[in-house]
């Protein structure tokens, strides 16, 4: 059981985070080798746009928009947020100095970790609930009996699905810090 948790949940989580760090280091090294570090300074913009694009799922869940399959939007949410975070990390790798910018990057990494935690928690709960239901179906239980016996499991699954209650304030903190960094940049930067 322990080995299964490590293989199915801990390891993928660690791999997602390691892939993010490794990809950042690779791109950063390539920029330095090709002497095009200046590109990294601008990668913050597409990074932010990708992260904003990932909010389609969040808006769909809060019924701010009504089109799109939530499951598909969730895959896009994960992919775009990961890719956007990668670009922002490369942008951060150009070694900026200000504390506010570093706080924004820190909040972004906490946000990525929170998202991945939610993803694996929900996956595990869904898998366990399905396994329990299948076991009971195999024992010949009726639909009503099955619903009754998995009532608490269903409640747990619903509770886990509300991970976004935790994920949201972390995202909010990241959003405000990121916005403050962007406003400061717009305020002082000479765009030419």
């Amino acid at each position: 059981m322990q080995a299964r948790i490590v293989r199915k949940e801990v390891l993928p989580f660690v791999l997602y985070m390691l892939a993010l760090v490794a990809s950042t280091l690779l791109i950063d090294a390539a920029l330095h080798l090709l002497n095009i570090v200046w590109i990294g300074r601008w990668l913050g913009i597409p990074g932010v746009l990708l992260i904003l694009g990932s909010f389609g799922y969040s808006m769909r869940k809060r019924k701010l928009i009504h089109s799109g399959q939530p499951a598909t939007l969730l895959r896009w949410h994960e992919g775009l947020a990961w890719l956007g975070s990668l670009l922002v990390l490369v942008h951060a790798g150009v070694h900026f100095n200000a504390i506010l910018a570093w706080l924004a990057v820190g909040a972004m990494l906490v946000n990525v970790a929170s998202g991945l935690t939610g993803k694996f928690l929900i996956d595990r709960s869904r898998r366990r609930l399905e396994e329990a239901r299948q076991r009971m179906r195999d024992q010949g239980l009726t639909t009503d009996e099955l619903a009754e016996r998995t009532y608490w499991d269903s409640m747990t699954f619903d509770a886990v699905r509300k991970w976004r209650v935790i994920h949201f304030p972390i995202t909010l903190a990241f959003g405000v810090l990121g916005l403050a960094h962007i406003i400061a940049t717009f305020l002082f930067w000479g765009w030419k």
């Binding site: 070694h95 900026f96 400061a184």
Partner: protein
């Protein structure tokens, strides 16, 4: 779920504090790096140089640094001692764009980009051609006799690589290679007293045009390695006994038979193996005569 507004309020308060800190300590919270030493006192006054939403403005720089004084006097009117640059070139720029070269924030330690490289393209044409108006001429042996502008050999982008043309030298300097170049100290060269030009050209050191035939003609029977005649690569000496053809006993016998007792300095008489040495001419020199029978010596 009722706790959520409280949580949001706590987060909002924290963020308000952070934003307030950004205004109170902008040099820590939003500055891309510490200011250069001369501007350290402006560290917390971002708008001394930056116009909101438009970035740093040359107009604000010029407000303190009058263009006519840049590089010549400080903002307090104190004359600046000339350094490596003879005078100020700021008055000769095609446009007053301070940020094209200066970024007063020193970058984080890993990047160090407080100053962008100066582009000579920003200089007015007339000034760009007169390097000496800003730069001191080098005083080393290569440059001290030159009277031409640096641009004849160097590019404005970098001092090296340069393309030196010896034609720029006066003829007197052109004949004195050693005034710029150190003579090679290998065995071949240290015994040579003449000018480098007798073997080398000003285009390149190699290939050299050393003419061995002046000393001894290397015909097809003498296509040997240098070490065959010049033992230990000592070019001040030679021996003809280095091959099977010329043994000391045979040479001695042949010359004694001819009544020649001085036969150790072979090339004195045998400078060209294709020629038969004649009898000693006036002044004690032998004159070579081309062999007719095709025999070798």
């Amino acid at each position: 779920m009722k706790k959520r507004p409280l949580l949001l309020i706590v987060i909002a308060l924290n963020l308000v504090v952070l934003v307030a800190l950004a205004f109170i300590y902008p040099h820590l919270m939003v500055s891309p790096g510490p200011l250069v030493k001369g501007h350290a006192e402006l560290a917390t006054d971002c708008f001394a140089c930056h116009a909101a939403w438009r970035g740093a403005s040359s107009r604000r720089c010029i407000g303190c640094h009058a263009v006519a004084d840049v590089g010549l006097r400080t903002t307090k009117g104190v004359p600046i001692a000339a350094g490596t640059i003879k005078g100020s070139f700021h008055q000769e720029l095609i446009e007053q764009d301070c940020m094209a070269c200066h970024s007063d924030h020193q970058g984080p330690k890993l990047t160090k980009r407080s100053r962008k490289p100066f582009s000579h393209a920003l200089l007015k044409d007339a000034v760009r051609g007169r390097c000496s108006s800003c730069h001191e001429a080098p005083k080393d042996t290569v440059h001290r006799d030159l009277k031409v502008e640096c641009g004849k050999c160097h590019q404005s982008k970098a001092w090296k690589p340069a393309h030196f043309d010896h034609a720029l030298l006066a003829s007197a300097a052109l004949d004195r290679c050693e005034s710029c170049h150190n003579a090679p100290t290998d065995r071949l060269h240290r015994q040579i007293q003449g000018s480098c030009k007798s073997c080398h050209t000003t285009e390149a050191w190699e290939p050299a045009t050393f003419d061995h035939n002046k000393f001894f003609v290397l015909d097809r029977d003498h296509e040997a390695t240098c070490d065959t005649c010049h033992k230990n690569n000592d070019y001040s000496r030679y021996t003809c006994y280095g091959c099977h053809e010329h043994s000391q006993a045979t040479v001695r016998a042949e010359h004694v038979e001819e009544g020649i007792s001085d036969f150790e300095r072979c090339v004195e008489c045998h400078r060209d193996p294709r020629m038969e040495p004649q009898e000693t001419a006036r002044g004690g020199e032998r004159v070579d005569r081309r062999r007719n029978d095709g025999d070798n010596d």
